[in-house]
Each structure stands twice: as C-alpha cells, then as structure tokens.
Amino acid sequence: MTSWRQILDAVDALEVGQYDDALVAAMQARGGAREAIRFHVPTFKSFASSELEPRGSGAWPAVSVTGGACKLQCDHCRAKILEPMLPAPTPAALWRVVNEAIERGAHGMLLTGGSNHRDEVEYGAFYPTIRRIKDAFPAFRIAMHTALVTRETAGRIAASGVDAAMLDIIGAQDTVQQVYHLRRPVADFERSLQYLTETRLRVVPHIVVGLHYGRLLGEWAALEIVARHRPAALVLVVVMPFYAPAHRAFAIPPAREVGRVFLAARERLPGLPLLLGCARPPGRVKVEIDAYAVMAGLNGIAHPSDGTVELAVRLGREVRVSPACCSIAIDDALLGLAPDNGAAVDVADFLRRERARPRAVGALARIPVVAG
C-alpha cells in the first residue's frame, strides 16, 4: 500500500511545503479520506490555478450593508475584509446592487456588514428588501453573515428568505475580549447558533483557526459548541495576520497545528460537511494547509492551492468544482437541490495528463498516479 507521504511527495506543486510525517500517517490511519470533495472558486476574489480555470467575475459578489464601516475593529481584521466588498448602506442601495449584480450574471451573494459594539450586524432596515429580492429572484441565493443574534433576530432572518446563515463561533473568553474587544460571554455565541438552528435556515458556522493572535486556544471548545447543535455544515478558516496592528501582532499558525484541528474536527463531527473557507494565510503555509485539508477528509475547499486537486485525485476522491460560495453549495448538494451541483472533474482525463507530464528524476518520480 502506498503511503500518503509518498503520494504527497509525488505531487510537484505541493513540494514547496513541508509536512509532518506523523500527522500525515495519522490522517491515513483514520481510514482515509474517501468521500467526494468539492473545490469552490467563488468570485469574492479573482482566482486561478494551474488546475482550475478562472471563473467569470461577479458570479458571487460580497455585499456589505455598512460599506467599510465596523465598530468592533477586531485585531485580526480592523474592517479591512469589508473594503473590497460592494457597499449597500441603504435598503435602496441593496436593491440596486443586487439588480446590477444579477444583470452581470450573479447567482447569489454573500451579504454581510460591519458589527456594532455587541458583535451584531444591524440588518433591521434591510429585511423587507431581502424579502423583496427573494420574492423577485427566488433562484438568487443569499448567504448572510449574521454575527450574534437574538431569537427574535434569527426569526426575522429566516422570514426574510435568506438561504444560509453564517457566524463565527469563538470558544475562548480571552479571545472574545482581547481580539474582538467584546464584552459578551462565549455562551452568547452558542446561544446564537442555537437560535439560528431552531429556524428553517441552513446554518453554517465558521471557526477561525488561530484567532487568538495566531495561537490555538478556543478551537476545541468551539468544535464542542458546534457538535451540540448540528448545523448544516462547518466552515473552517485560518486567521490572516496581515491587518493586525504592530502592538497586537498575529503569528501565522503553523500548518501542522491547523491540520490537527482539521483532523480533530473530522473525528469529532463525523458526517457533518466540513469545508475549508476562503480565508487563510497565503504562500507556502496555504499549500500545506490545503494538503492537510484533503488528507483530513474535509468535504470542500475554497480557492484551492495548486496541487490540491491532483492530491485529491491521487487519493481516490471524486472531485467536483463549483463557482459558488461553499456555505451555500455544499448544502444544495446534500439536499439534492441542483442550482449548482458543481462540475465533475474528468478524472480519467486528469490522470492521462498527469501521467504524460514530465516529472522530476529521482526516487519519487515513478510513483503512479492512481484513482480509486
């Protein structure tokens, strides 16, 4: 039996990374990642790799109801993530932005905004417009970043027609207070998840790995919170350290630590779709993180690094590619809805091309590309 370490080493594009042999072996010992995997290329960001073609821009825009404004100013973000989004600071602007996006071919949007000091996004005035959008364009999918909610707010979100609700789950009080500058208990994150999952909404919580200044702290507690409420899926992302102020600097979490969280999530949440979302630090560490995500058995990866698709194929996983936001698409697939079931990668063709490609000369050069 070929070891996964050998398979890893045979993927040229992954050789820029360094991998923990024990962790790779543990992932293989878990029984292997055999389920289908879906690679998402949402257009929040222009994306191309050697393995996946660029998609038309604008299919899944990100829209902010506060423009670039956020009162929370968390240390890892400081509202920078909002800057490139389409601003829709009034209900009328939201209606116009959505209509223009649909004219350009949008299939759906990520709807978000900056928070108030209580980590709530104030959508109040927007609910009638969201309802109007869903009534006028039923096929237009809306994934909303809800932030923290009350039971009443969760009900209003559900009644507005939103398809998927997303919120970050934080498991450590120190992180809530120090990184988010927020005076609310961890229990409020769990309550919000509970209120959302009590509605008809498809709830897709996010856990930001390394949120405590690049260290792991509340990730396991956050996994326990998610396990208690069984949402539709869980998105894991990795903190991006670039926006932090110098006096509150973030480390880049080591990929092997992130990989351990992936494996723990897979073991703690069997059967729950696990997705690696768009946000993670770029460069070599991203290549390593993505490889661990495939081996740990995550079900989807957004904006995969070069070599990730080949690794999935070599591990025998069915591969599909989707232009949609992973929080929406995975649930559609699970529920048998078909607006975007993803395009299947022609594995036979992929293998033919890989086999034909000249490879490095050396001990690893003759490891075959396998499927199944």
Partner: protein, 146 residues
Amino acid sequence: MAAVKNCNLPDDLYYNVENNVWARREADGTVTVGMTAYACALAGEIVAYTPKKVGRAVDLNKSLATVESGKWVGPVKAPVGGEVIAVNDALAGNAKGINADPYGAGWLIKVKPANWDADSASLVTGSGVRPAFEAKMQADGFAGCP
C-alpha cells in the same frame, strides 16, 4: 521605455502580453522572468510569492510561481520553458517588493531556457510592445497604473 496608461513597459524586454509577464535574456544565456507593471497594478499589493523549486522543469505557459494579493490569486505563467535555476528569496517575506520594482528587485525566477530561440519568437519586444499592451488594456477596460 514604453509607457502605456502610466504603466512602464521597458521595450528591451520580451513579453507574453496575454499572460502579462516579461523575460530578459542575460549575458550568460539564462532568462530572468517577472510580472509586468500592468499585472502588478491589476493585482494590487502582493502579499505572497510561492515559486517553483530550483532544479524543477517549467513548461512554456505553465505556472512558475503562485502570487497572491488581497483581491487576486493565480499562477504566473512562464514565457519560456526550461529549468528553474534561481528564485528570488528576497521576496519571501516581502512580496510587495514585486509591486515596488517589477523589472528589477521584484524579479520572480531565473530559468535556463530549453529553447530560447523558439520560445522567444512568440514574445513581443521593441516597437511591438506599446501597441500590443494598448490593445490588451483596451480589451481589459483597464483604467491605468497608479
């Protein structure tokens, strides 16, 4: 030096216009490769640079590095095929150096070309640079370099 929409495009370099990359043949026959100022402007501030390893073969028009900015991630495609003989270690912790000096300190990779004469025949240089990029920028709807 050609300048199109405020983007510097030295006309002594060889360009694959579609892929927005340049190549410069050095005196020893090796080829230095980088992104154009136009490509840098499209990408915005670059935050990561992940090149292929030294010693690896790179095929014509295939990825020689992955580059990522806040709004873009993608492969930089090789204007010539050959063997990677050097990568720019100075960019490892300072990828925005690509934006700062795309034709100098921000070079991406050095290649020992497999067949310079054949590969360079399809590249644009000299007086062809300006019209080729004018046409591309027009087609892309590009407003101009900052």
